[in-house]
């Protein structure tokens, strides 16, 4: 029940606005920027309105909790759900809903002995600027003091550094002219500013020349978009602001082209397990709704910086995200995270292929160890209102060797140590993993995935994830597994014997042969008269196992008549011609064209075009 008449009126107003909004919220292509801006603003306003109520309710409980025991340690709440994060505190201040509590929360955050590191410095500086004039002098001083007395660990990943240097840049800009004795790291404001600026431009440069390392992640996209929004809105230097805006275009376009009604599809560098098997709950979904607007509303506090931002997504990127009227295949080149040992190259390329339709997306990385711990190499993800709308396979690999490629600590020690943090790293049943024994060959709507496990491979099995929410999953006498979800028809041909294991939300296909693999073909329901028709067609396609398993070589002729031959690890032939992945540019497809040499990304859709040009970075 809403007791505040002003709140009630504003919600009614938002409802009217939403009803009157152009059909952009249902995924319609828009013809001009003003249409998009209007629709975005309505979504942003509704996000702020809903989260204001949530934050105010939390603030009430927060005050009850802390007033009951004034000695309670800073920022300890009764439940984790009741924690008021810095952006929510800024919201309380900015909206005027509870300025006092908002300030108190930020002060406690800044005084908390265990708040530190890259997340802290970014989030507190974002909140500092978003809260604006409503910040009390005491809050300002407390935050400032925290950046003198608090160790701020920079972290060891790409997103850590972007967060750290964004926060450091803004802090140095906010408090210029101070000497090293005033800062946690002993460097002056000028030194911190220069270092942060140099790194931020470096990150932009490497991303636009050889690609992101933590690319296309439904889990981690939040920690790239959030700092870019923070930079865009609060840096004083117009050159940095322009660059941040262009990077927002770049990362958003990268998301849009592999976006399927809320879901970030294709292969991913890093995912949390639950995002891998339930893509509908990944953090990217919130960004998808706010930026593209073709799903039900998702209210996440980490989207507040975007909702408050003056940045506006170019309408053409929106259109790329929501228009699935024509199937297309899109290619991307990314990079491996910094490989500090055991490799010839620091950042070998990653090759991505994604086939997009309105019913499903089939996407893949070329395979191997491209990211430690959380890699998601391939899947078919389909559009359906059911949960867990994804099917994929993997080899649950782990090793100190893999970790030592990317982390400097001791090889014997790393697996156990990483397991303590990520909990499932050594788990034989895990649902995200890179593996040196896995490679893919994708052509449009077909993929061959081969595994060639070493004799001494840990966890010598491969697993397949089939959600229980599929409308159908049958094993045909031809050897094909047929599955159907939403308007997606799928077929998987396992190359070896396997078993089914029932789990909470899925069926696990498990096969214990070390030389192994799967042929997968996917289609939209519209392409066939019926699912039976699809089955009949697939069953008649040629599967060439004449060399398998003596050799890790298979062939398959697709329903479209294309002949794929694949030999592990990297011999790929399409209709008799070798496939050269190394020629793949940063972006290549009907909507996105990008070349690392020019640092330009051209986004086109219909008659609209937008060029993101970062060739003039300092």
């Amino acid at each position: 029940m809403i007791r505040n008449p002003a709140r009630a009126a504003s919600l009614i107003l938002f409802t009217i606005v939403l009803l009157l909004m152009p059909r952009s919220s249902t995924g319609q292509v828009l013809t001009d920027q003003a249409q998009y801006d209007q629709a975005f603003s309505a979504r942003a306003d509704s996000l702020v309105a809903v989260l204001s109520d949530t934050a105010a309710a939390k603030a009430e409980r927060w005050n009850q909790f802390h007033h009951a025991d004034s000695t309670r340690p800073a920022n300890v709440m009764s439940t984790p759900e009741d924690r008021i994060d810095p952006l929510e505190a800024a919201l309380l201040i900015r909206s005027g809903r509870d300025v006092e509590t908002g300030n108190a929360v930020l002060q406690q955050e800044a005084r908390h002995p265990f708040r530190g590191g890259m997340f802290y410095i970014h989030d507190i500086m974002a909140a500092y600027h978003h809260a604006g004039e409503g910040l009390t002098e005491e809050t300002r001083q407390t935050i400032r003091r925290s950046l003198w007395e608090r160790p701020i660990y920079r972290g060891d990943t790409e997103n850590h550094w972007l967060l750290y240097y964004t926060g450091l840049y803004l802090a140095a800009q906010t408090w210029p002219g101070e000497d090293g004795t005033e800062w946690f790291n002993g460097k002056s404001s000028a030194e911190n500013f220069a270092e942060a600026e140099e790194y931020l431009y470096h990150w932009m440069r490497i991303t636009t020349t050889i690609g992101q390392g933590e690319f296309d992640s439904p889990t981690y996209i939040i920690v790239f978009l959030a700092p870019l929004f923070t930079l865009y809105d609060f840096v004083a230097d117009p050159q940095m602001k322009e660059a941040a805006g262009k990077m927002l275009d770049w990362i958003s376009a990268d998301y849009a082209v592999e976006y399927l009604r809320g879901l970030y599809v294709g292969g991913h560098s890093r995912d949390y397990t639950y995002d891998a098997i339930a893509p509908e709950i990944a953090p990217s979904v919130g960004w998808g709704w706010l930026l593209f607007g073709d799903t039900d509303a998702v209210y996440r506090s980490d989207n507040l910086s975007a909702a408050w931002s003056s940045y506006r997504l170019p309408v053409v990127i929106h259109n790329v995200a929501v228009d699935r009227s024509q199937p297309y295949t899109h290619f991307e080149r990314k990079r491996v995270r910094n490989m500090i040992r055991y490799g010839e190259e620091m950042n070998p390329p990653v090759f991505k292929t994604t086939h997009m339709t309105s019913a499903y997306a089939l996407g893949s990385l070329h395979g191997g160890i491209l990211q430690p711990i959380q890699q998601h190499t391939w899947d078919v993800t389909y559009d359906d209102d059911a949960p867990n709308t994804t099917v994929f396979t993997l080899h649950p690999y782990y090793s100190g060797y893999e970790l030592a490629m990317f982390f400097p600590e001791e090889i014997e020690w790393l697996s156990d140590e990483v397991d303590r943090y990520h909990l499932v790293y050594t788990d034989p049943n895990k649902w995200n993993s890179s593996s040196p024994y896995e490679r893919t060959f994708q052509h449009e709507n077909v993929i061959i995935v081969l595994y060639d496990l070493a004799p001494d491979a840990m966890h010598p099995h491969v697993d397949g994830f089939f959600p229980k929410s599929l409308q159908e999953r049958t094993v045909d006498e031809s050897g094909w597994i047929f599955f159907r979800g939403g308007r997606m028809y799928g077929a998987m041909y396992p190359l070896q014997n396997y078993e089914w294991i029932e789990e909470e939300v899925n069926w696990r296909l498990r096969s214990h042969e070390k030389r192994n693999g799967f042929i997968v073909e996917v289609a939209s329901a519209e392409e066939y008269d019926s699912f039976e028709d699809f089955k009949n067609r697939i069953s008649g396609n040629e599967v060439d196992l004449s060399a398998f398993p003596a050799a890790a070589t298979v062939g398959y002729t697709t329903s479209a008549g294309d002949a794929l031959h694949f030999t592990f690890p990297d011999e790929r032939h399409l209709n008799g011609s070798p496939v050269d992945l190394s020629a793949m540019p940063l972006f290549d497809g009907p909507y996105l064209q990008g070349d690392g040499r020019t640092q330009r990304l051209v986004v086109t859709h219909g008659g609209l075009e937008h060029v993101v040009d970062l060739s003039d970075l300092p």
Partner: protein, 372 residues
């Protein structure tokens, strides 16, 4: 134990109408005094000593705790980083950053108030015994594994990183990368020859490299296994010992011209740390993965393995320090079981300062000062 956050006290004072930390006021005053007294101060940054102090009679034991097994992501984690004991491990003070990653520590000659740490954020330096720290490096220097000072050139500092070797000739004010000749830029350990100031030893993933021109150029040696540690005997500068990945240790008695690989049980272990007893190059201790502590009394020709008092995670030893005052007093830093000491030259072990180092991953131990 005394703990301070970021090596600074929280006391505050009022000065010029503003609230200033007392520590900062004191620091400013000391800097002014130092500036007035120092005729050699040419930098606009910190006060930089131009020559090292004499060996301190006080023995200081430094322990670097990288992390603990209690640590959780974004959790309320125990204090880690650099600890110092001035009474042979009985009590400990924390100095520097309480969170983040610290891999190793090095003191200027004499073990006085000037320290460098090899840290996740770069190379950190204090010149006032840990009250004020500065990250001396920029963003390109990260995950620093080891740091060492040139004993003969007080301004020269080397840092070993996963991205190569960095050298500073101005006490950390500026750094340059020096990788010419390296076939692997993953460098875990680095030391300068006390007898030859231009001779530097670098332990890399591709083995041991040496430089004879102060790190400008590197030459691969016959030791081609991943090197985890490099140490020089303080009693015989011709003797060096390397901890090796999966192959025990390698020893030279001729300043690195030739190397001898250890045989026996130790050869089947990865050895993270091996070091000489301060007064005798024949007595050597070594520790590594699931090894406990090895000791040799004949310059590394034969080894005895000791595990009495060490079990489970305590068998994984990553740091060793031998008291100069009492060479039978040996410390072992373990990977997840905290700090241990032996009072009988390594034969029996017991945990030390459990309240400070509980489940600690002690990555590095160093002893400075003290007199045999």
């Amino acid at each position: 134990m005394q703990l301070t956050s970021n090596a600074r006290t929280r006391r505050t004072s009022f000065f010029l109408g503003q609230q200033w930390p007392t520590g900062r006021l004191v620091s400013v005053a000391l800097l002014l005094v130092a500036f007035m007294l120092s005729s050699s101060c040419t930098s606009s940054h910190a006060v930089i000593p131009t020559e090292t102090s004499a060996e301190s009679p006080e023995e200081r034991l430094y322990a670097v705790m990288l992390s603990t097994r209690k640590h959780r992501l974004a959790g309320e984690n125990p204090t880690v980083g650099l600890f110092v004991s001035r009474n042979a491990g009985r009590t400990w003070d924390h100095t520097g950053w309480a969170q983040g990653k610290t891999f190793a520590v090095a003191a200027a000659q004499g073990g006085g108030d000037t320290l460098f740490t090899a840290s996740g954020n770069g190379v950190m330096r204090t010149t006032d015994g840990g009250r004020f720290w500065k990250i001396t490096t920029g963003w390109r220097v990260t995950e620093v594994q080891d740091v060492t000072l040139n004993p003969a050139r007080s301004q020269q500092v080397f840092a070993a990183t996963p991205y190569g070797i960095f050298r500073s000739d101005d006490f950390g004010e500026t750094w340059v990368r020096r990788n010419d000749g390296l076939t692997s830029t993953f460098v875990a350990a680095i030391r300068v020859d006390r007898a030859q100031p231009d001779r530097v030893f670098a332990g890399t993933e591709d083995g041991l490299f040496t430089s004879s021109d102060g790190g400008e150029n590197w030459r691969r040696t016959e030791v081609r296994l991943p090197v985890r540690s490099v140490r020089q005997s303080s009693s015989d500068p011709a003797r060096w010992i390397l901890g090796l990945q999966g192959r025990g240790v390698a020893i030279t008695e001729d300043g690195g011209e030739s190397w001898r690989f250890a045989e026996g049980e130790i050869a089947s272990h990865t050895i993270y740390i091996a070091d000489f007893e301060p007064t005798s190059a024949d007595i050597i201790y070594a520790g590594g993965w699931e090894s406990g502590v090895f000791r040799s009394a004949d310059g590394g020709r034969t080894w005895s393995q000791f595990t009495s008092g060490l079990s489970g995670l305590a068998l994984n030893v990553h740091g060793i320090a031998i008291s100069r005052t009492d060479p039978s007093h040996v410390f072992a830093g373990t990977m997840g079981a905290g700090l241990y000491e032996s009072l009988d030259a390594g034969e029996n072990w017991q945990p030390v300062a459990l309240d400070v180092f509980e489940l600690g991953q002690i990555w590095n131990l160093q002893i400075y000062g003290g007199r045999p």
